[in-house]
């Protein structure tokens, strides 16, 4: 053992608050320290995940108060898989923005890396914690750093996008706290495992009200359809790497929270059908909104919303195949959508309105970036030799296994829409003449490395899906087994 789960929260949080002090000693430390922290967390999470896959989950008690009284962190196959994914994406975002942020000077870079550390802390904390109030605190940490990162550029309309995000986010946090307090007033405990053992004693009215409040609150963060008004603006106005961090880290954490509530804590079977319905509505509306977008990043944002809808549909099947498909899709979406945001933000770097029309003929000036964008576009649509194909295939087979042919055919129809708007962009990059006014910006060396790593991963998972499916199978089995989770947590005595 090289460490314990609490380090995932403690180290980035400590680093975040040390960054301004370290910056006084040597300015370059501001950029280096986050990278060292993320590399350490990456090593730690891979090690712990290997340990957990063989020996079963690690439950860590904080401050010596055994569950159900104290806060506990649970590093199981499921949460460990997501933590590894998030830390990996944090690392990619760091590599990408290491030199990129050199252009903006010391003060903004300091704030950027500080907030990035806070974002990782919050998102990893949401996934690891076993206490619903603690999860609320981590959601707020993620939220506040997300608002500030959205408003990073002062020149654009970013403050407006950020204020919109903040307004919805703080309404969400009020609803979330209300839901937590309804559960607490009925059961007198905040521990997830203990709530799960006692939830059948709660009156249905309270149970349903609190589940609705939970889904509404978390749906705002997870970009579920009627509540996702903030997302396209925040993605479009935030810096490119922050868009990647939102798609890969923040949204994943919120979806985790919804799934944890529905699968482990509550015992309402109708919630699964509800997931399928809201997932389908989100998917269809987002994909049709994406095809109408003129700005590249807004299009990517709507595509991201649509993919999250598909993830919820796959979770809504409630079967082992469904959970497997959903986790595979989450992994692929995190990798591919990050690649699209990172390469896309170079394609529209110098253009004035960041529209799709301005990427015309970019492949002559940015050959590698354009190639990687096209790779990501084909992969996310689900064309065969790439990673996205396997996840979409597993969603469809899971739908077929659950005898939901209507859902299956709708997913296929929406995929055609997805193909159309991605091919439109790729077509413009490769076959249109470049406009004179737009000057291409060469990607920095670090950015190229970050994008190439993601591109290589898409190909590796595409050709050899077996490298990752074993882990995902264990993670999905871990999520499905509710009694084991409860026993693991409540058997801890300190």
């Amino acid at each position: 053992m090289v460490g314990t789960p609490v380090l995932f929260v403690a180290i980035p949080l400590l680093a975040a608050f040390l960054i301004p002090l370290l910056g006084m000693i040597w300015k370059e430390l501001v950029r280096i320290v986050p990278g060292l922290v993320l590399i350490y967390l990456m090593v730690l999470s891979v090690n712990l995940l290997n340990h957990v896959l063989v020996n079963g989950p690690i439950v860590e008690v904080i401050a010596g108060w055994a569950p159900p009284f104290g806060i506990n962190l649970v590093f199981s196959a499921f949460s460990g898989f997501l933590v590894t994914l998030m830390v990996f994406l944090g690392l990619i975002v760091w590599i990408y923005s290491y030199r990129f942020k050199r252009n903006v000077g010391f003060e903004p870079a300091k704030k950027y890396f500080l907030l990035l550390m806070m974002l990782v802390t919050g998102a990893v904390g949401i996934v690891l914690t076993g206490d619903i109030f603690n999860m609320f605190v981590f959601i707020e940490i993620t939220g506040i750093s997300g608002y500030a990162l959205t408003a990073f550029y002062t020149g654009r309309d970013s403050a407006e996008a950020s204020f919109k995000y903040l307004m919805l986010g703080s309404i969400a946090s009020t609803l979330l706290l209300l839901a937590i307090m309804i559960l607490y007033s009925q059961l007198g405990t905040l521990n997830m495992a203990e709530i799960a053992t006692k939830i059948h004693t709660v009156k249905p009215a309270y149970k349903v009200i609190s589940l609705i409040l939970f889904i509404t609150a978390l749906g705002i963060e997870a970009e579920i359809f009627p509540l996702n008004g903030w997302a396209p603006d925040a993605y479009a106005e935030a810096p490119g790497p922050v868009g990647a961090a939102f798609a890969g880290i923040v949204v994943k954490a919120s979806v985790y929270a919804i799934i944890r509530y529905i699968y482990t804590i509550f015992d309402i079977s109708g919630a699964y059908d509800f997931l399928i319905i809201i997932g389908m509505v989100t998917l269809i509306i987002a994909e049709f909104a994406a095809i109408r977008q003129e700005k590249l990043k807004r299009m990517l944002a709507y595509s991201s919303i649509g993919q999250m809808g598909l993830v919820l549909v796959a979770f809504g099947f409630g079967t082992k195949e469904g959970v497997f498909a959903a986790l595979f899709l989450m992994l692929n979406h995190a990798i591919i959508k990050s690649l699209l945001f990172l390469s896309g933000s170079y394609l529209v770097y110098n253009s004035k309105d960041k529209t799709i029309a301005e990427v015309n003929g970019m492949h002559k000036f940015l050959p590698i970036t354009s190639f990687l964008f096209a790779l990501g576009a084909f992969a996310i649509v689900g064309l065969p030799p790439f990673a996205g194909f396997w996840s979409k295939l597993s969603v469809l087979t899971a739908a077929a296994d659950s005898h939901m042919l209507f859902v299956m055919s709708l997913i296929l129809m929406v995929s055609v829409v997805e193909l159309v708007y991605y091919l439109r962009v790729v077509n413009r990059i490769y076959f249109f003449k470049k406009e004179e006014s737009v000057e291409a910006k060469k990607p920095t060396f670090n950015a190229l490395i970050a994008m190439l790593v993601l591109g290589a991963l898409i190909l590796v998972i595409g050709f050899y899906p077996d490298v990752i499916t074993g882990v995902i199978h264990k993670a999905s089995a871990d999520l499905m087994d509710k009694t084991k989770y409860i026993n693991d947590v409540l058997s801890i005595k300190q």
Binding site: A151, M167, T174, M181
Partner: protein, 125 residues
């Protein structure tokens, strides 16, 4: 006082807290001035905090501190300490959110020269 009056008082406290929350939500959603929106969000959080503290109250309970006075005294009822701890955390978080919101309001005012939400719509609302 008889117990039904106490019960009425209980519901009164819950009702007031929920009313404060709704007033805050109304302010956040309907008012045109950005500052009033921020105040509305803040009022909504205060209403929720009031509700949480009221949920943890027991009739005739004292402060949840284990001291000699409590152990030797006649009153053996304590209020629930957990909601109070939660409210303390929620207040701090609310403070942080309000600070970020106000800094954004300052940025918006410098950029647009107005606080009216109808005039700040470069993005689709």
């Amino acid at each position: 006082m008889d117990s039904s009056l106490f019960q009425l008082l209980d519901y009164g406290v819950y009702g007031t807290a929920i009313l404060v929350m709704l007033i805050g939500l109304y302010g956040a959603l309907v008012k045109k001035s950005l500052l009033k929106v921020v105040i509305g969000l803040s009022v909504m959080e205060s209403g929720l905090n009031l509700l949480i503290v009221a949920l943890g109250y027991l009739k005739g309970g004292t402060a949840p501190i284990f001291s000699d006075g409590f152990l030797n005294g006649t009153n053996k009822v304590m209020v629930d300490p957990v909601p109070q701890a939660l409210v303390l955390t929620a207040i701090v978080i609310g403070f942080g959110v309000t600070a970020v919101a106000l800094s954004l309001v300052i940025r918006l005012y410098r950029h647009h020269g107005t606080l009216n939400i109808d005039e700040i719509k470069n993005l689709k609302w």
